[in-house]
């Protein structure tokens, strides 16, 4: 099973198509749990009711499946704690011009 760091790295390939930034830099990924055959990603989105939510969940699942084709992937989309801009890293802040 891939390490959490590796999974985090492939998740950088999941880009919010509206903002143009990846979900890791945006601070949307809260947790990654791995077991022998399952990977659970706990994540959120910038706005509750974001219409992109199913696309981004599917995209996340697809990139992990590419890395670990045999694993069962579960995307746990949560709204608590609520995402705030403070969760973005410095790369995302620079891109947004903050």
């Amino acid at each position: 099973m891939a390490a959490k760091d590796e999974i985090m790295e492939v998740l950088k390939g999941v880009i919010d198509p509206e903002i143009g930034l990846n979900i890791v830099d945006l601070g949307l990924v809260y947790d990654i749990e791995t077991s022998s055959n399952e990977i659970v990603v706990t994540m959120t989105l910038t706005t509750p009711g974001c219409p992109m939510h199913s696309s981004i969940s599917l995209w996340t699942e697809n990139v992990i499946k590419k890395l670990e084709p045999e694993a069962s992937v579960k995307i746990n989309l949560v709204w608590e704690p609520r995402w705030t801009p403070a969760l973005m890293n410095s790369d995302a802040r620079r891109e947004l011009g903050i």
Binding site: P17, G20, T46, M52, S55, N62, W79, L96, G97, I98
Partner: protein
């Protein structure tokens, strides 16, 4: 949490929304074309056949078709509820379209007989089908928010606008309304533009602008105050206009309505102030311009309501032009530049993301022509206002040509996005 995860399941089929948007964009281009070829007739008193016809292509074809499409998409998504009937949304489209074609051709030829009434009845039938569909949908909402509140209230004004329009259409051929036809027309127009159109724009803005600009940590109080003031003002105006010797009350309610609009603008100011995305893209640029023009329209409206300036040449035309081509058209174009790429992306690329390269939303259309279109439309707006004010026919023609070019650029990008859906 589970319900949040099912949001996309609430959205209606893309083809229903698209049908309304396509009709709207065609109406936008058509009305600008008609202004160009009939520029010599667009001056002086606003109550004349061609101006009535073109105004209704704008309000029913361009504006209301856009809103119907947007509401079919947004009501289910924002309020987390499934649209009551997709079939009714389909049937309503054709009845509404037939009504528009009938009404506009009657106005154009100034046929004030039974055909005008039949067309108004068709439009009212479509409005009632829409209202029934949305109201039944809304009865299933479990979690209300400020956007839902504005959208629900707008339905009341849509129905009122339709009925007032029907009464006016009958009154034109067979006078029966006790108060002046023009005063009633004034009421019809303000209920339509402030009650129906503006409340939808405001409600949708509270949801979409924070989402697009990543705005957090602001209070919604001004938005709630705006809701109370605008509704108080509009209901007050509609009531006092039916009675004599109510001039003071008329001023009071006109000012309350305008005050409500300023509270809305304050709410938008707070949203923009707390945004994380500092760079404004084309959609936000059009939207911001629209809000500024709404402020100007509200000040203009107060001046018209409380002074005698409407007796000056072309003042009513300038007022109407700023509202329709400034405030409303700018927000529709701006929000369509956000919503259309999303809908097509979702439809076309959603399942491919992560398996193959997919475009960003801003790559779904050509940005440079879109910005050029923005500056052309702004120039056209300013040019038309000055031409009306100074009554210069040749520059009015030039301004109408520019606005027509602006509408063609928007049509080009709209088509470009649609082609992406087919590829």
């Amino acid at each position: 949490m589970q319900s949040e995860a099912l949001i996309s399941a609430y959205a209606p089929p893309f083809k229903i929304v698209l049908k309304y948007f396509i009709a709207a964009v065609i109406a936008f281009v058509l009305l600008n074309f008609l202004l160009v070829v009939n520029y010599a007739d667009i001056n002086g008193f606003h109550f004349q056949p061609k101006i009535l016809a073109i105004t209704h292509i704008a309000t029913l074809g361009w504006i209301t078709m856009s809103i119907f499409g947007a509401m079919f998409q947004l009501v289910p998504v924002v309020l987390e509820v499934k649209l009551y009937s997709e079939k009714l949304a389909e049937v309503q489209f054709w009845i509404f379209l037939t009504g528009i074609i009938g009404l506009v051709s009657c106005f154009w030829n100034f046929d004030t007989g039974i055909h005008l009434t039949y067309s108004a009845i068709a439009l009212n039938a479509a409005i009632l089908i829409f209202s029934y569909n949305i109201i039944i949908t809304m009865t299933k909402v479990k979690k209300w928010n400020i956007t839902g509140l504005y959208l629900a209230a707008s339905i009341f004004y849509l129905i009122t606008t339709g009925i007032a329009g029907l009464l006016l259409s009958i009154n034109l051929g067979f006078p029966f309304i006790n108060i002046s036809h023009l005063l009633y027309l004034n009421l019809h127009a303000h209920i339509a533009l402030v009650g129906w159109v503006s409340l939808v724009i405001m409600g949708v803005s509270f949801k979409l602008i924070p989402m697009f600009s990543l705005s957090h940590h602001y209070s919604n109080k001004s938005g709630v105050v705006a809701f109370v003031l605008i509704n108080t003002g509009l209901l007050g105006l509609s009531t006092v206009m039916h009675y004599e010797n109510t001039t003071i009350l008329f001023y009071v309610f006109a000012v309350i309505t305008a005050l409500g609009i300023f509270f809305f603008l304050h709410q938008m100011y707070l949203i923009f102030k707390n945004r994380m995305r500092k760079r404004a893209d084309i959609g936000i640029l059009f939207s911001k311009t629209s809000y500024i023009l709404l402020g100007i329209s509200a000040l203009f409206g107060i001046a018209i309501a409380c002074t005698n300036i409407s007796y000056q040449m072309n003042v009513t035309l300038i007022y109407g032009y700023i509202i329709i081509f400034g405030f409303i058209s700018m927000i529709i174009v701006g929000q369509m530049y956000k919503i259309m790429p999303f809908l097509v992306w979702y439809h076309r690329y959603s399942s491919k993301a992560g398996r193959e390269p997919v475009p960003m939303l801003k790559e779904m259309f050509l940005e440079k022509p879109a910005y050029a279109g923005y500056y052309i439309m702004i120039t056209a707006l300013a040019g038309a206002i000055l031409s009306f004010a100074f009554q210069i026919t040749i520059s009015l023609l030039f301004s109408f040509v520019l606005m027509f070019i602006g509408s063609l650029i928007f049509l080009f990008n709209f088509t470009y996005i649609l082609i992406k859906a087919k590829k």
